[in-house]
Symmetry: C2
Subunit: 420 residues, 2 copies
């Protein structure tokens, strides 16, 4: 490392390509890696470096951040009721998360720079990989509040049973969640795995889900991706650019209860198995009627372009609705739901096979809303009861987490709750 590099690095002045490889190079050169990495504040690094998403802000990253390509979602159970132990873990997690998001190892010393006779403070599989737009989003489940004897927000009431649900308890619930999103799955897995590792003795993994091929864009800078039914998904998703709508539908506002959620959002996760083999034997015309859009361009039936408004009143010459009464986009529309909108941020998955000759494939649905009871529940009730697509779906996992606001003012994950 040249002296100039060292100066840039030590003063926290945003080295443009700060990577784990570079940090490792420093350690390998015999420098005091621990001190050096501490001196390089992640906030500084986050400023302009490509592929680094700022960790601190008014809201948590990973919600309206343009959706990265890969997901590792982990739900954890807390094995203690000792608030101070939990608070200490949250503090350590926050420090590690802030480092990893900046492309650094989980802790000073890292995989190879610490005491060789102690376990390394980073697991090492992301050495040499860039930050890859990693975001880490933290959420709290109702069951944790119950364990700690804290009141649940009304918004965090249990979801009702929906028609057709076939929920697997080993894929549902959880005291805490960590949503790791990145453009490289190895970076997302590394981050989640290191946080899990740090939680030994205080938390254990309840369930975990990998995803690829994001199924919604969350920014107008992104094309609409396709789900495993082959259709563009989330055309009318709320986008990062829709500030007023986000305040109305996604962010918990000052004055909403409880105060510790101000600036936060509620994460609803649903593991939706898609019976792709049956779908694939359905005609194109039927698929398009079920969705209410064309498969190619993704325009609403009767319209021309993807982003054209859907005309739910249009009828064909025979008098039938052009967009069928049980079409997915009609039932999920704000028009049908009294103005309800949500921010979707889900991923496709294939988790091996089901033992019956088929792929275990589908959509890991993730949505962020200001109030699940007022937004997700009526929407899912309408879909579960009426959506013709339900014939090809089965919801087999479900969880809701309260994701507090961002840490612009300092502090650590969960602090607003535990200090409340």
């Amino acid at each position: 490392m040249s002296p100039a590099d060292a100066a840039t690095f030590r003063d926290g002045g945003a080295p443009p390509a700060l990577s784990r490889r570079r940090l490792f190079g420093l350690a390998g050169a015999g420098l005091a890696a621990a001190g050096a990495t501490v001196a390089c504040s992640p906030e500084g690094a986050a400023g302009g470096a490509a592929g680094v998403v700022p960790f601190r802000g008014a809201h948590q990253a990973g919600i309206i951040t343009p959706a990265q390509d890969r997901l590792h979602f982990v739900a954890l159970d807390v094995t203690t009721t000792d608030r101070s132990a939990l608070n200490a873990l949250f503090r350590r997690w926050t420090t590690a998360a802030e480092r990893m998001v900046a492309g650094q190892e989980a802790a000073p010393g890292g995989a190879v720079g610490g005491n060789p006779h102690a376990p390394p403070s980073d697991t090492g599989e992301a050495l040499g990989l860039p930050a890859s737009s990693l975001t880490l989003t933290f959420g709290i489940g109702a069951s944790l509040l119950d364990k700690l004897g804290l009141p649940r927000p009304a918004a965090l009431a249990d979801l009702p049973a929906f028609t057709g649900d076939n929920l697997d308890p080993t894929r549902s619930g959880g005291d805490l969640c960590i949503q790791a999103c990145a453009d490289d799955p190895q970076v997302a897995v590394h981050a989640a795995r290191n946080l899990i590792r740090m939680g030994f003795g205080t938390t254990s993994v309840r369930w975990s889900q990998l995803g690829f091929g994001r199924t919604s864009s969350t920014s107008r800078s992104q094309d609409t991706p396709r789900n495993l039914f082959g259709f563009k998904d989330g055309t009318h998703n709320l986008k990062a650019e829709d500030s007023d709508l986000l305040d109305r539908h996604v962010w918990v506002q000052p004055g909403d209860e409880p105060a510790w959620m101000t600036g936060g959002s509620y994460l609803v996760a649903r593991r939706i198995r898609m019976h792709i083999e049956v779908w694939d034997r359905t005609s194109l015309a039927e698929q398009e009627e079920i969705v209410g859009r064309t498969k190619g361009e993704g325009n609403p039936l009767g319209a021309r372009a993807e982003f054209d408004p859907a005309d739910f009143t249009a009828r064909d010459p025979g008098g039938a609705p052009v967009i069928p009464a049980d079409a997915h986009i009609r039932l999920a529309s704000a028009e049908h739901l009294g103005g309800i909108r949500i921010l979707r941020r889900g991923y496709n998955f294939v988790d091996g096979s089901d033992g019956q000759g088929h792929l275990d494939a589908g959509l890991f649905f993730v949505a962020f809303v200001r109030d699940p009871q007022a937004q997700f529940v009526p929407m899912q009730r309408a879909l579960a009861n009426q959506d013709r697509m339900m014939e090809y779906l089965q919801h087999n996992g479900s969880a809701v987490f309260a994701c507090p606001g961002g840490l612009a003012g300092g502090g650590h994950w969960g602090q607003s709750l535990l200090d409340s």
Copy 2:
């Protein structure tokens, strides 16, 4: 589409960025997409287009092709003993595979260009995605030969039981395999899924495995990647550039039995669960002794750089071997195994959690060898019996497939067998 584009396209002259999106554009413009895609020969497209790996050659692609970042591996069972039905499927599969590798849809017409009252001939989720270096590699299991009353090659004898094996039959074996590798998981999944779809009635999925973060480089143009123990893996892997060694250790040679395997290779797959949580509590020094390399640079213990030769005779001042007697790289070395070498092409995986608080993570080991009995069996026996790393591993899936030679001379998958 301009007339100039049409001319380039229709004469099969390798449009430089032929993608499904482009093809879809053609279909959307009302042109005869079916005819047009047939006219554009995939061989032409494969010539120089970025991200397109040639489908036909002396050997199948996906073996010494520089390892792509993502894997979707599928093992299938054959539900017929009618050779002509199977031959017809192999012919259809080959046509579809050749198209998809070139970035085209699985069949003319594709997701949206066919008869709207019939199921689409492509599932559509890769529309708009480039070829992404997709390779599709086809293999035949011993159980298929048994079903068809054909003799097994000696090389395809069942593997013996190894110490510590805990094989799950639902993750083992299979009559056929398709290895889909690509730089985009959605492209790999799309390809495997469409071939599965085309096999309905003749084949069914036995098991399926996704992987990320390739754990071996297969070309000197690639850095050595890291496995989920955080170590560089496969430093001394055979590489595409090692032509003479590949002829000796990987490719079935003329004169080897059976003749239908000439130019082919045997694929050994092992699903290796890695107990990463236990590993993570092990000291750096112990991890490095178990592997026999340093965790950072990846040099053999006692050497300086990753590619330095390992000195298995070196002793420390106390007289102990610098590379321990039970170190992984010693036991797996050609020196220890009488010259045995293999071509590794595996991937990391995380398949959710194990229900006991841990990630279900590990290495999906894939190796290509000229003779599993003479290469994989003695290597794995040595590792299973003596490798100190086995304490942190469990093999829970296993399969061997015969991957015939390439289709440079025309023809389709399995033809050399079924015509033999």
